[in-house]
């Protein structure tokens, strides 16, 4: 389980806090989604989690233990993070790339053992990229690349998965398949924390929604309680309606033309 408790972050040379005391949790077995406008602090949460930016206040706990006390490798063994952008300066083969997910276990001294190879094989299968094993990363399509990144995160072997906009630039089919995969991973017992702009998809797949607004939680809870037109309109500063999708039964946001 990942818990953010009153987490506040301010970037150097900035007057305003990027996060002004955010409290949320991602539990095992659940798909928790963080949504919110651009600049609301979503990615900052991820950077704070992996220790790329210091906390001004608050704590981040993994399974009850404060993240800084775990150390980088132990944190990475428990929580796999897929950051928003990642472009390889020098392309690897897919299997080599996925194998890097074992780095938190191997460090620089240990040789890969049977259990490492097994973890790599299983995660390649789970992400559905077995056919791409020998392909070069720079020869993958956007959808394939996101799945390969997911395979690397799964190879880390932790119980928690954090993803920052894993479906950006994907078409409908690829986007759906990633969401299905994440949903399945959550149901298999992992804590999945997903940052996404796809409110309507998130409303269908997530168990919990957290709506961020200017570095603070504007609303949190099951999709039905967060997907309220009044709240969303205020946060996104755009006229919209929320209806119930007749085909799937989930709350659906429809942005309106400016009046």
């Amino acid at each position: 389980m990942i818990e953010f408790n009153d987490v506040a972050v301010r970037y150097p040379r900035s007057d305003v806090s990027a996060l002004g005391g955010v409290t949320l949790e991602a539990r095992r077995g659940l798909l928790t989604a963080i949504v919110g406008p651009n600049g609301s602090g979503k990615s900052t949460l991820v950077r704070a989690l992996i220790g790329r930016i210091a906390l001004e206040r608050g704590t981040i706990r993994i399974d009850g233990a404060p993240a800084p006390t775990l150390g980088g490798a132990e944190l990475a063994r428990r929580v796999a993070v897929i950051t928003q952008r990642e472009d390889l300066a020098f392309p690897l083969i897919v299997s080599e790339y996925v194998a890097l997910g074992r780095f938190p276990h191997l460090g620089i001294w240990h040789a890969a053992e049977q259990k490492d190879r097994l973890a790599i094989d299983l995660s390649i299968d789970a992400a559905g990229v077995a056919a791409l094993r020998e392909r070069r990363i720079d020869a993958l399509s956007g959808g394939e690349w996101q799945r390969v990144r997911l395979a690397r995160a799964l190879a880390q072997g932790g119980d928690a998965l954090v993803l920052d906009e894993p479906t950006a630039f994907l078409d409908v089919a690829h986007e759906m398949s990633v969401f299905e995969l994440l949903h399945g991973l959550a149901r298999s017992g992992k804590a999945v924390l997903l940052i996404s702009h796809q409110l309507n998809l998130v409303a269908r797949f997530a168990d919990q929604l957290v709506l961020l607004h200017r570095g603070a939680v504007a609303a949190a809870g099951p999709p039905d309680s967060v997907m309220q037109a009044e709240t969303l309109e205020r946060v996104y500063e755009w006229p919209l309606v929320v209806s119930r999708d007749p085909a799937v039964g989930a709350p659906t946001l429809v942005p309106l033309r400016r009046r």
Binding site: L75, A80, T83, A89, L100
Partner: protein, 323 residues
């Protein structure tokens, strides 16, 4: 990388070394070469082979191995296909350090440390310039910063030269052009120590360079202490480059060209890339030195000039792809 390609790399190095030992102002036929290597037969070929050619080729191997590994490590860590000690100004800084160390009368064992101090100052200066330009992450900006620092280093050497005795001037000039011509066994032993220790250390942290090559945030997500790891690689790669500079002067572009060739050969993870770059770098410098000796006899072209003539077109091709 497949085993056959490793074999090709090793055979190329052995062949280049034998060729470089045999060919020169005095060429030694293959039959006589074997005798001379075993120290049997005529005295003259034995003299030439053991006192001139073998030290020279050995030094070239060490210089090439050091520069190749330094370039491979810097490229991976900076995620920059144009990174290499010469273009980043590391070598220039090292040359200034070495020239200053020389005027202070430092011995051969300590000279690499003076060069190293110069190299570190140059790296910090290049980062400072790139940072001031507000684009530390842009490969081209850091490169420009490195070129500027390198030019400054050249100017600094000129200033030192302007007031120096003729002997020092000759030494400084030698540093700026690069050469493995005056190789001594003592020099070779010292450089071998630095190359083995530095190269070995880089190979040990090779997996960290694999992770760093994914980008800083991704590397942090895999549990790496990113800032410490980057500093460590820079420190070792600079030390390696500085040691080659204090032994052979400024030899550019080896660290740029070699890792790309080895990557094209199929080495993608940094442990194998570093080892491959050491072998290929050694081959390149041995051949470049040989070319410098045979192109316009009896005068020798400076080693640094030959590697630049090979490296600049390569650099332009890479730059074109990047822009």
């Amino acid at each position: 990388m497949p085993l056959t390609r490793w074999a090709v790399l090793v055979i190329a190095l052995v062949a280049a070394s034998l060729l470089a030992i045999a060919v020169g102002t005095v060429s030694i036929p293959i039959s006589a070469l074997w005798d001379a290597l075993r120290r049997v037969g005529e005295t003259m070929p034995i003299m030439v082979v053991w006192t001139l050619r073998i030290p020279r080729v050995t030094l070239a191997i060490l210089v090439g191995a050091g520069l190749g590994m330094s370039g491979a490590a810097l490229q991976g860590t900076m995620r920059n296909p144009l990174a290499e000690p010469y273009l980043l100004g590391v070598s220039g800084g090292a040359a200034v350090g070495a020239v200053i160390g020389l005027t202070l009368g430092l011995g051969a064992a300590l000279l690499p440390l003076a060069a190293f101090a110069g190299a570190i100052v140059a790296v910090l200066a290049a980062f400072f310039v790139a940072h001031a330009a507000g684009a530390r992450g842009d490969p081209r900006v850091l490169l420009m910063a490195g070129v500027v620092v390198g030019a400054f280093a050249n100017a600094a050497i000129m200033v030192v030269m302007a007031n120096a005795e003729p002997n020092t001037v000759r030494n400084a000039l030698w540093w700026m052009m690069g050469s493995v011509g005056d190789a001594t066994w003592r020099q070779i032993a010292i450089l071998a120590g630095y190359v083995l220790a530095g190269g070995g250390a880089l190979i040990v942290v090779g997996r960290q360079i694999d992770v760093l090559a994914l980008g800083e945030d991704a590397a942090a997500g895999l549990g790496l202490d990113v800032d410490t790891a980057i500093r460590r690689v820079f420190f070792i790669a600079s030390l390696l480059a500085a040691a080659t500079v204090s032994a052979a002067g400024l030899v550019g572009f080896v660290g740029l060209v070699v890792p790309h060739l080895v990557r094209a050969g199929g080495a993608r993870r940094h442990r194998e890339l570093l080892i491959g770059s050491a072998i290929a770098g050694a081959t390149l410098v041995v051949l470049a030195d040989l070319l410098g000796r045979v192109l316009r006899p009896p005068s020798e072209l400076p080693l640094g000039a030959v590697t630049a003539l090979i490296g600049v077109p390569f650099f332009l091709a890479k730059l074109r792809r990047l822009v």
